[in-house]
């Protein structure tokens, strides 16, 4: 993958990973609540068919300017600012977890501007009967326990968040989390529901909803609720995957798209 940094019209500095052929259909992938982890398998699999762009949200990795993001509309318009800065027309919009929530909002605000919408274990809805665990009270080791189906994958990808990790790695994980979840908290805390449900009627594009069957953070019953609120929705459930589906079953997920 190639990495570059662009500046949005609002002044954010955003690092974007890019792969795939220039003439292929553009696809924008918005990462999840823990950011882009150190494994490109999913994005590379997509890049066989799409021209893939994966921007890092300010507050994550090398992107900056998160102090300008305060509410849901800021996050939504920032998403379109990045698409504009990349010069893309009619992209396929894919969002995972936190990115799914942002992608859904982007689609509501500009339904005709996307080719297709894919939501992977998205945040954004709340069902009283199925409360989502309080991510903001997790100790580091709980991220691995709750977000992954496979503990070994968690240990590989969330360096620092497991007990065997070095103290320095734990510290780095904690500092990174303070920044990225501090930013994500502006739309996820204390209840990850900024009322996208009342805007989803606007969606016109074909929408694919994919869920990790063993998502212990946002249980898979949420998939049906999304589908009920979106006109052209199809649901797929993937076995042997948790909330971190793109990192646990990357080939299966890419094939569904």
């Amino acid at each position: 993958m190639n990495a570059r940094t662009l500046q949005t019209r609002r002044g954010m500095h955003v690092r974007v990973m890019e792969a795939g052929r220039n003439e292929a259909q553009p696809l924008v992938f918005l990462h999840g609540v823990l950011g882009l982890l150190n494994d490109d398998t999913f994005l590379n699999a997509l890049a066989e068919r799409y021209h893939v762009f994966a921007p890092e949200l300010p507050g994550y990795g090398e992107s900056s300017g998160e102090e300008l993001l305060e509410d849901m509309l800021d996050f939504t318009l920032h998403g379109w600012d990045v698409v504009d800065a990349l010069g893309l027309r009619q992209p396929v919009l894919v969002g995972h977890s936190l990115g799914g929530m942002i992608a859904a909002e982007m689609a509501c605000i500009a339904p005709a501007a996307i080719e297709k919408l894919v939501l992977v274990d998205p945040f954004g809805l709340w069902l009283d009967e199925h409360p989502i665990p309080d991510l903001f009270s997790f100790l580091p080791f709980e991220f691995g326990d709750v977000l992954f189906h496979n503990r070994l994958r968690a240990a590989e990808l969330l360096v620092g968040a497991t007990d065997v990790a070095e103290p320095d790695a734990l510290r780095q994980f904690f500092i990174d989390n303070a920044r990225r979840l501090g930013t994500a908290g502006k739309i996820l805390f204390p209840i990850p529901n900024r009322r996208v449900s009342k805007r989803l009627y606007r969606l016109t594009a074909e929408t694919l909803i994919v869920w990790g069957e063993d998502d212990k953070l946002i249980p898979s019953v949420y998939a049906a609720h999304w589908a009920k609120l979106i006109a052209r929705a199809r649901v797929e459930c993937v076995k042997a995957a948790g909330h971190m589906l793109p990192y646990e079953q990357p080939q299966v997920l890419a094939a569904l798209m």
Binding site: E70, F136, L139, L170, R179, G182, T183, G185
Partner: protein, 425 residues
């Protein structure tokens, strides 16, 4: 202004079970309220308020209350309610509300109004505290977004201070509060405003905030004066850099204190209650101490992360009496022992005001009064003039009416006492 001593009660729940640490993960946020018994609570509130009034009778300069939510550690979600009763039943001591977590009030004009009411009812005896609030209270219980809490606090502060200062209605177009008509009725007696105390935990931003506005910086730690040295040194260094004078009345400190006739008596009388406080009331889950975004990255980099490990999360060792004494978390002993250590505290931290925690944990009323009486009569008189050069500095103290009125005493037979008429001229 001579050294000031405020009698402070957190109002803990004294009926937490013996196996509390093993059975419950946290005294705060998610402790089921089935552990709270309102009938016991009825007697307890009155006992605690009686103790605060007793401290006023004994000559404490202030009586203090504060705000916490959803916990067995401090049962004052609304300190203003307690303060209102104290304002009616006392006539001399400062009413120190340390304080109202101003980012939680919607709109925060509510704080301007209630604090003004307290200042007026008490005849100008309010000390107004503006804490940012613990993450447990502010974020987990009251749902404020961690990364925006300080910004919201700053706006609330601006609104309250303007509401007190302006004499004509004004519009306030804030990010978190939009009010077309701000017009604070009543307004405080004390001018330009009641003394303002900022409870802080050691961030440079808070030091600067206090210095910029000339507010008192209060370090309300339970970890004692020895552990506080580095933090208070850093504060005074900041004071020196800012070019402000080094009046000790710029700062206050909270200390757990236990006085008895002898050192041995102090251990015998108070040990179990103080251990109750440290081992049960402070048993807060690490999960609730630090939501991402609450602290700045620089502050996090400087902190210990041991408590974040899987094993240590549930196995914080119990505090022992000797640790508490050696670490200075508790000052306990005969009046002379306590005097010596209090003098050391006041001198080394350079403070002009101590919040005295003389009720601790599940300490019963008789012991609390014994402790309070001995400290007031045997210790305080010997500590009054440790800062003689600042004895006339009253910038961080109340300026009450000359003879404030109190509530009429209730008649023993249930008849209403003859009230003093209020002049209407």
């Amino acid at each position: 202004m001579p050294m000031r001593f405020t009698w402070f009660n957190l109002m803990p729940w004294p009926y937490l079970p013996e196996d509390f640490r093993q059975t419950y993960r946290s005294v705060w946020v998610d402790l089921p309220n089935r552990l709270y018994d309102p009938v016991k609570g009825h007697a307890l509130y009155h006992e605690y308020m009686d103790q605060l009034e007793y401290a006023d009778e004994l000559g404490f300069d202030g009586i203090g209350v504060n705000e916490h939510h959803q916990n067995g550690y401090g049962l004052m979600p609304s300190p203003n309610i307690i303060a209102a009763t104290l304002a009616r039943r006392t006539a001399r001591a400062a009413i120190c509300v340390i304080g109202n977590s101003i980012a939680l009030y919607n709109p925060p004009i509510r704080v301007a109004e209630e604090f003004a009411m307290l200042d007026v009812i008490s005849g100008g005896r309010l000390v107004a505290g503006f804490p940012v609030g613990t993450p447990m209270d502010t974020n987990f219980c009251y749902g404020q977004i961690p990364a925006l809490t300080r910004d919201k606090y700053a706006e609330a502060h601006e609104l309250i201070m303007r509401a007190w200062a302006e004499e004509e209605p004004f519009a306030f177009d804030g990010k978190y509060n939009q009010l077309r008509w701000v017009n604070c009725w009543p307004k405080p007696i004390q001018k330009p405003h009641p003394p303002i105390y900022i409870p802080g935990g050691g961030s440079v931003e808070t030091y600067d905030f206090c210095l910029e506005h000339d507010y008192n910086y209060s370090y309300l730690s339970f970890y004692g004066y020895l552990a506080a040295q580095a933090l208070m040194d850093a504060y005074w260094e900041r004071v020196a850099q800012s070019g402000k004078d080094e009046s000790p009345h710029r700062a206050a400190f909270a200390q757990v204190i236990a006085v008895a006739d002898t050192d041995a008596d102090a251990e015998r009388l108070y040990k179990e209650h103080i251990l109750y406080f440290y081992n049960r009331c402070l048993h807060v889950a690490a999960a609730f101490l630090d939501p991402p975004g609450y602290r700045t990255i620089n502050t996090i980099k400087a902190s210990s992360l041991q408590r974040l490990r899987r094993q240590s999360a549930s196995e914080v060792p119990e505090a022992t009496w000797q640790q508490l004494l050696d670490g200075g978390m508790v000052i306990a002993g005969s009046p002379e022992t306590v005097r010596q250590r209090m003098e050391e505290l006041i001198k080394t931290l350079h403070v002009g005001h101590v919040f005295c925690l003389l009720h601790t944990g599940n300490q019963p009323d008789d012991k609390t009064r014994h402790n309070t009486r001995l400290f007031a009569t045997e210790v305080i008189p010997k500590l009054r003039h440790l800062w003689p050069e600042w004895d006339n500095d009253d910038r961080w103290w109340i300026h009450p009416l000359e003879s404030p009125r109190t509530g009429s005493p209730p008649h023993p037979n249930g008849q209403v006492a003859e009230p003093t008429p209020v002049e209407r001229a």
